[in-house]
Symmetry: C2
Subunit: 110 residues, 2 copies
DNA sequence: CAGCATCCGCGACGATACTG
DNA sequence: CAGTATCGTCGCGGATGCTG
């Protein structure tokens, strides 16, 4: 926890998965390849604009891979990369923490 | 990673440490008790308004503890709670990931 | 020193309509 | 189906000044 450069490491990590939606997108894509419309349904509350925008950034950062099947009707799949997998593993403990302490947290929100 | 309820767990976690600054504040407070002015200097770029606001939320969520020494000149220390410690532990892997992949990330930003 | 109050810009984000 | 384009808003967060 008090490891050297923690802060700068955090900056790097947050530069990649920062923002409101990327955690969630990463979660679903990490499970299995996902189509665009699929993600739109899974990530509750996200708009198309945000979804495509965040996906583009994740792709640019090498976290996900975009595969266009060149079909009609259009079909595109987003899959996780090796890089993304390592990131997902780093995020997993945070999720686990959330699961464990969820009750305590939601109790405060009422 | 594909554990059940990951997503909801994430929601709970992000409700507590979401936002632009809390990761950083948590980092410094986790190391040792910190005074207000100290944090203002450590968390580079944060404004007083944001700092106090985020500290209040972290306090409300039971992540940090605020100790007012009732002195003049004023002296207040923020320390981490047991709850906060568990959260910091969950965030640590993300930081470690950032440290490891920092070069790759910053390389893209140029 | 440790805050609080106020003003306000700007960009994140949403809603809607449209296209190949 | 998988986007693109455009417009509008909302509130995050910065800047500044003041107080006990």
């Amino acid at each position: 926890m008090t490891s050297p450069r923690f802060n700068c490491g955090l900056d790097a990590a947050l530069a990649v998965i920062g923002g409101k939606w990327k955690f969630h997108i990463l979660y679903y894509v990490a499970q299995q390849p996902r189509r665009f419309g699929e993600l739109r349904r899974l990530v509750v509350g996200i708009s198309e604009k945000m979804l495509i925008q965040q996906l583009r950034e994740l792709e640019y950062d090498g976290v996900v891979h975009r595969h266009d099947f060149q079909e009609v009707p259009p079909r595109v799949e987003y899959s996780i990369t090796g890089f993304g997998t390592s990131l997902a593993a780093a995020v997993a403990p945070l999720c686990a923490w959330g699961v464990t302490h969820m009750e305590a947290v939601v109790a405060l929100r009422d």
